[in-house]
């Protein structure tokens, strides 16, 4: 069992995750600019910084008789949950804490958003933000179980819940190659956890921004940053689980990890080009399509593990 990692990793993780989140926000800004017919100049890449400055300068806002305590717990909690979710994620072999149950820990941290996003919606005492919070739970009931089973496949093949062991087990072939369905269901789950792209009805424009309908100023900045951090944490965790962590020719391990994380994150950000999915459709797809598919995948992995002996 690897010994606990040195403390400097605690300082590196927020920098790496923050950088990935900023990259995701910039890429999203540029894709929107290109879709609107503008050229992808440096100003478009710097859009998130300008937006952050704007939100910091603006006055914060609350609704009357709103539950400010619960809303603040919801907003700040998402940032902390995203950071804690990346605890077992190794950057080229070194993680903040390579827990013996890294996969279960990541699953536990990402499910915290069930409580946190709903609290943000409830805390606004506003019809649109309340509807947004309940939409998040309706979606979560559809993608959460398939995501949990997708998270079970790599540990099954690596005989351990420790992320370091899962990376070792991918010496010859990456898990993404021989369990593609688990990888796909995992990515759908991550897009759902960060309510991004086709799964963004909890914060969609049709209900005036959903859970963000009453957020302004620093509250809005911390909430949207938390959402990007959670998307980055999910994309980053896909690398050790399915893409062989830091393994790759020529470049050092930590650089390979970073490149793969950025690539997965770019694909997830690109998903915003698609239209939304209604909660009712997602519910039947989740239970009647994703769940059997990922169970089949786990069965196949189990049989392969048995044959390999």
């Amino acid at each position: 069992m690897a010994e606990p990692a040195p403390m400097w990793t605690v300082l590196v993780l927020p920098i790496v995750l923050g950088g990935l989140a900023l990259f995701a926000a910039s890429l999203n800004g540029v894709l929107t600019a290109v879709a609107s017919g503008r050229r992808a100049t440096l100003a478009e890449w710097a859009e998130p910084l300008r937006a952050s400055a704007r939100l910091l300068v603006r006055q914060r806002r609350t609704t009357f008789r709103a539950d400010v305590v619960l809303r603040r717990v919801g907003i700040a909690g998402i940032v902390v949950a995203a950071l804690l979710a990346s605890v077992p994620t190794p950057l080229g072999g070194v993680a903040v804490a390579d827990l013996p149950v890294g996969v279960v820990w990541f699953n536990a941290m990402e499910i915290l958003l069930w409580a946190l996003v709903w609290l943000t919606g409830w805390g606004g005492n506003s019809a649109f933000s309340l509807v947004g919070g309940y939409r998040f739970l309706a979606q979560a009931l559809a993608y959460e179980l398939p995501l949990m089973f997708a998270l079970t496949a790599p540990p099954l093949a690596a005989d351990s819940l420790r992320v370091g062991a899962i990376v070792q087990a991918q010496q010859d072939v990456w898990f993404a190659l021989w369990m593609p369905l688990a990888f796909l269901v995992y990515l759908i789950g991550i897009v759902g956890v960060a309510f991004w792209g086709p799964l963004s009805p909890p914060a969609a424009a049709d209900v005036a921004g959903g859970v963000t309908a009453e957020l302004s100023g620093a509250d809005r900045l911390v909430f949207l940053a938390g959402r990007y951090l959670m998307l980055a944490a999910g994309a980053a965790f896909a690398v050790p689980l399915f893409l062989g962590g830091g393994q790759g020719p020529l470049l050092p391990a930590w650089l390979w990890s970073l490149l793969k994380m950025a690539a997965v994150l770019a694909v997830l950000v690109w998903l915003r080009r698609f239209s939304l999915v209604r909660a009712e459709r997602l519910m039947s797809w989740g239970w009647l399509v994703l769940l059997p598919v990922v169970l089949l995948q786990v069965l196949v992995v189990g049989v392969v593990v048995l044959l390999r002996g």
Binding site: L70, P100, I111, L112, W114, A115, W122
Partner: protein
């Protein structure tokens, strides 16, 4: 050293949030105080190096308390506690009983000579658990599986209004609820 401090801090917080659950007015706060109590207990498990059980408690309890919050908000009179009301009966009697139980249990805990640690700890508690589930606890898991299936069927039967065979088997076009045009002062509009 860390362990003892962590234990005491988590223990006090767990009991405090457990008691606070029944003292707050807002149902949302009550539910998430209960979740906080569970998270502190999960912290206690991590202090005892039971990594799997600690993470599992956070995983399962967060989902359950989020669902609990949905039902609490649906069924409680004023969910946000904006108009505090007393929804209790014989509060004093309950207090006396629970304090008596606490004293009795604590006395038992301190008096009875519990068998101290007999054997060294397994290196990987999760592995030990997994081994047990697959071997001598397999029958229990099967019974639990059938129990869960029975729960799904029973809960669905109780909860759904329209059974598959009842008179409104097919969900017909929803009939309009009796709304007079000037509909906002209900006759029986109890708060």
């Amino acid at each position: 050293m860390w362990e003892v401090i962590a234990f005491w801090v988590l223990a006090v917080l767990a009991v405090a949030s457990g008691i606070a659950v029944f003292r707050v007015d807002s149902m949302a706060r009550a539910t998430f105080l209960l979740l906080a109590s569970f998270l502190f207990v999960a912290g206690e498990m991590l202090v005892l190096e039971l990594h799997y059980l600690g993470a599992l408690t956070v995983l399962m309890m967060t989902a359950e308390m989020a669902i609990m919050a949905v039902f609490m908000i649906m069924f409680m009179m004023n969910p946000a506690g904006l108009e505090p009301m007393e929804m209790v009966h014989n509060k004093r009697g309950a207090l006396v009983i629970s304090v008596a139980v606490f004293v009795a249990l604590t006395a038992a805990a301190l008096v009875v000579p519990w068998p101290e640690r007999a054997a060294p700890h397994p290196s990987d508690a999760t592995h030990q658990l997994g081994e047990a589930i697959m071997r001598d606890k397999m029958l229990v898991m099967m019974v639990v599986g059938v129990g869960l299936f029975a729960t799904m069927v029973a809960a669905t039967l109780l909860a759904t209004a329209r059974g598959r065979y009842g008179e409104h088997a097919a969900p017909s076009r929803p009939e309009p609820s009796p709304h007079a045009h000037a509909h906002h002062h209900h006759a029986g509009g109890d708060r």
